[in-house]
């Protein structure tokens, strides 16, 4: 019996990392943004301040990279604190 081989090209995005990006906002206080990073990501105060300063000086900071579902969860949490946060595919 002839054997039929079906080739399937599976394109999965499961392994594609996603970035959680926080954008600069002149209204949110620096101390508030630091507190939010500590709460949402469990960052140390030093790491939270480092990301906050990156947002402040460079306009944005990638605060987390990983699986899509988790990234969506973090973006939602950041929006609950009224931070400007987006999800984007990691390069």
């Amino acid at each position: 019996m002839a054997e039929t081989v079906v080739e399937t090209k599976v394109e999965t995005s499961l392994g594609t990392p996603w970035n959680v990006v926080v954008h600069d906002d002149p209204v949110n206080l620096m101390s508030y943004v630091t507190m939010v990073f500590q709460r949402v990501f469990g960052f140390s105060k030093q790491k939270a301040q480092s990301h906050m300063l990156e947002v402040h000086h460079k306009g944005r900071s990638i605060v987390w990279t990983g699986a899509r579902e988790r990234a969506e969860f973090y973006v939602q949490q950041l929006h609950e604190y009224l931070l400007l946060a987006t999800l984007e595919r990691a390069e």
Partner: protein, 163 residues
């Protein structure tokens, strides 16, 4: 006005001047965007660029109503706390905020500041200015209001962090 931790479970606002009491009472009202598109756009900012259309649709359908509910709940908590603000004529006011309400206060104060800054179109430079102007237009007064709410946010964070 002095803001400090009171025992374990509360934050106390004491020596509240009448003008400060008035500004505090305005917080829930200021948080009402009144459907202003720019304020709405800031409170409910986009979580991704337009290439993520399915995600944006899901967000609008499921997440945005949750956020709206959360923001409203924070405003209502602040409103209820403010009903207990004691400020009799000729005396300075006092308000006790339960520790568990501190997040609601931070959130509502943030909403108020974001909406005021958006409605009055303040620039980064203006928002970082701390000099009092020589004369006060309505816009200058709103900037003072934004800065006043920022100070309260700072003091509440300090009081919570001290624990």
């Amino acid at each position: 006005m002095l803001i400090r931790r009171l025992k374990e479970n509360s934050i106390e606002l004491v020596d509240i001047e009448p003008i400060e009491a008035e500004l505090l009472r305005q917080v829930p009202g200021v948080c009402e965007s009144g459907g202003d598109p720019r304020s709405e756009a800031r409170l409910f900012s986009s979580p991704a660029d337009s290439s993520e259309s399915q995600f944006l649709n899901d967000w609008a359908e499921y997440v945005r109503p949750e956020l709206r509910h959360l923001f409203l709940a924070a405003r209502n908590t602040v409103k209820e706390d403010l009903e207990k603000l004691s400020d009799f004529p000729g005396r300075l006011g006092r308000l006790i905020v339960p520790r568990v309400h501190s997040d609601a206060w931070l959130n509502a104060l943030n909403q108020a500041r974001l909406i005021l800054a958006t409605k009055f179109n303040f620039s980064d430079r203006e928002l970082s200015m701390h000099e009092a102007p020589k004369w006060f237009s309505r816009r200058d007064l709103v900037l003072q209001q934004i800065n006043f709410y920022a100070e309260i946010q700072e003091r509440i964070m300090d009081a919570v962090e001290d624990e």
